[in-house]
Amino acid sequence: MAIDLSKHYRKTNDLIAREIEGELVIVPLKSGIGNLDAEMYALSATGIAVWNLLDGQSTLEEIIKSLSEEYQASNEEIKADVIELLDELLSKGLIIER
C-alpha cells in the first residue's frame, strides 16, 4: 500500500501494547481477542517515537518534520525510516488512515 505523506494515520483500537525493557510489544486483536496465530511485534525506541505520534492529529509530513527536529537528522533520512515502518504497520493492520 502506497504511503501518502499528506494523510493522517492512527493506531487501530483493536490491539494491545505494552512496553517491556524499552521495547513496545504489540499484539493485534480482532474484536478484542488475540488469536492462536496472532503475531507479536516489538518496536525499538525509534519505532516507539513514531508510534506515539500516530494519533491521527498530524500528517505524516508533520510527523517526519517533528522527528527530524527532535533527532537532529535530515528529513530524507527520517522519511525513509518512517515510510518503512508505516508500510509494515499498515500491512499488519496495526494502523489505519484517520
Binding site: 494491545i16 521495547e23 510489544v25 478484542g32 481477542i33 488475540g34 496465530d37 496472532a38 516489538a42
Partner: protein, 296 residues
C-alpha cells in the same frame, strides 16, 4: 459416571465419562500424573458420546473466532466452543466438540466417533479428546500466572533449566546428552511455567512434542540456555534484556487471549526477562558442554 484424576502444575483435572475409563483409555504417559482425588485447584472434563442439539444452536449463533486446519473456535455469551476435526483418520477420537466455560475450568466434550469398546483401549494423548491438551492448559495457565514455553525442560539436582532454540538448534541433541549424564527430563518440547512470588517454576506435563518424553516433576527455574550448534563449546550470559525478550516471545505458546489475558502474559514474560539468568550456549557433539550445565 466414571471418574479419574490427573494433576499437573498444581492443577488437578477431574475426568468424568459416560463410558468406563479403562487402564488404556489414556496413553501410558498419564499414569505418572494420576492422583486419587480432587485438589485445591481442580478443573473438570466430562466425556459424552452423543451430540446434543443445543450445540448446533451454539455453533449457529456463536461468534466465529478462529477457523484453521482442524479447529473451528466460536464464542457465545460466556462459553467457548471448540470444534475439532482430526486430520489424522487413525486418531481414536476422530472429531470432538468441546464446550468450555469462560475460564476454561469446565469442559464438556461430545463425540460420536468412538464406541465404548474402542474408548476403553483408545490410548488417547489428550484428556480433552483433542489432538493435545495444550489448547486447554495454555488458557488455564494464563489465569494462574503461567504460560507454555516451547522448550525442553530438565531438573538437574533440583535446578530447573530450559533449553530453547529454533528448529535445528540442537535441543534434541543436547537433551539426549544431558539425559545420558543423569539429568531428569521434565518434558520434551513444551514446558509449563508458573510464577510464584517472583520465582518461576517449570513443570513436566503431557503436552510433549513428537516424543512422549515427560515426567510429572517440577523444579524452580534456574537458567535458560538459548542454543546454537557450533564446533566449539561455550556458555555466555546474555546481558541484553531486549534480546532475551525477543527470544522468550518467540518461544511463547499463547492461547486465544482477550486483552486481560495478554496483560497477564506480558507480566509473566517481563518478570522472566528481569529475573531469570539466560545464556547463549554453543556446543559441539562431544558433550563437553554438559559439564558446564551440570556445574554452573
Amino acid at each position: 459416571m466414571h471418574v479419574k484424576y490427573y494433576k499437573v502444575a498444581g492443577i488437578t483435572v477431574e475426568v468424568k465419562s459416560d463410558f468406563p475409563i479403562g487402564e488404556s483409555t489414556f496413553h501410558l504417559k498419564f499414569r505418572q500424573f494420576e492422583v486419587d482425588a480432587i485438589g485445591d485447584d481442580t478443573v473438570h472434563i466430562e466425556h459424552h458420546f452423543y451430540i446434543p442439539e443445543s450445540i448446533e444452536t451454539l455453533i449457529a449463533e456463536g461468534n466465529n473466532i478462529y477457523s484453521k486446519n482442524q479447529w473451528k473456535i466460536l464464542k457465545i455469551d460466556n462459553q467457548w466452543i471448540y470444534d475439532f476435526r482430526s486430520m489424522v483418520q487413525t486418531d481414536p477420537g476422530h472429531s470432538a466438540m468441546g464446550v468450555f466455560s469462560e475460564d476454561y475450568s469446565n469442559l464438556s466434550v461430545f463425540t460420536t466417533d468412538i464406541t465404548r469398546r474402542k474408548y476403553r483401549n483408545a490410548k488417547f494423548h489428550s484428556l480433552a479428546l483433542f489432538n493435545s491438551d495444550q489448547i486447554m492448559f495454555a488458557q488455564l495457565l494464563c489465569n494462574r500466572k503461567g504460560a507454555i514455553i516451547h522448550s525442553n525442560g530438565f531438573d538437574i539436582n533440583g535446578r530447573g533449566i530450559l533449553l530453547m532454540g529454533a528448529s535445528g538448534s540442537g535441543k534434541s541433541t543436547l537433551s539426549r546428552m544431558l539425559k545420558a549424564r543423569g539429568a531428569k527430563i521434565l518434558c520434551d518440547d513444551r514446558i509449563f511455567v508458573k510464577s510464584i512470588e517472583n520465582e518461576y517454576w517449570i513443570h513436566g506435563n503431557w503436552c510433549h512434542g513428537s516424543v512422549p518424553d515427560t515426567s510429572s516433576g517440577s523444579a524452580e527455574l534456574n537458567q535458560i540456555f538459548f542454543l546454537e550448534k557450533s564446533t566449539t563449546n561455550s556458555i555466555e550470559e546474555i546481558q541484553d534484556k531486549k534480546e532475551i525478550l525477543h527470544k522468550l516471545l518467540q518461544a511463547l505458546i499463547h492461547p486465544i487471549l482477550v486483552e486481560n489475558g495478554w496483560e497477564k502474559t506480558f507480566s509473566l514474560i517481563e518478570g522472566m526477562v528481569k529475573r531469570v539468568k539466560c545464556y547463549r550456549a554453543k556446543f559441539d557433539l562431544t558433550g563437553d558442554i554438559c559439564n558446564a550445565i551440570f556445574n554452573p
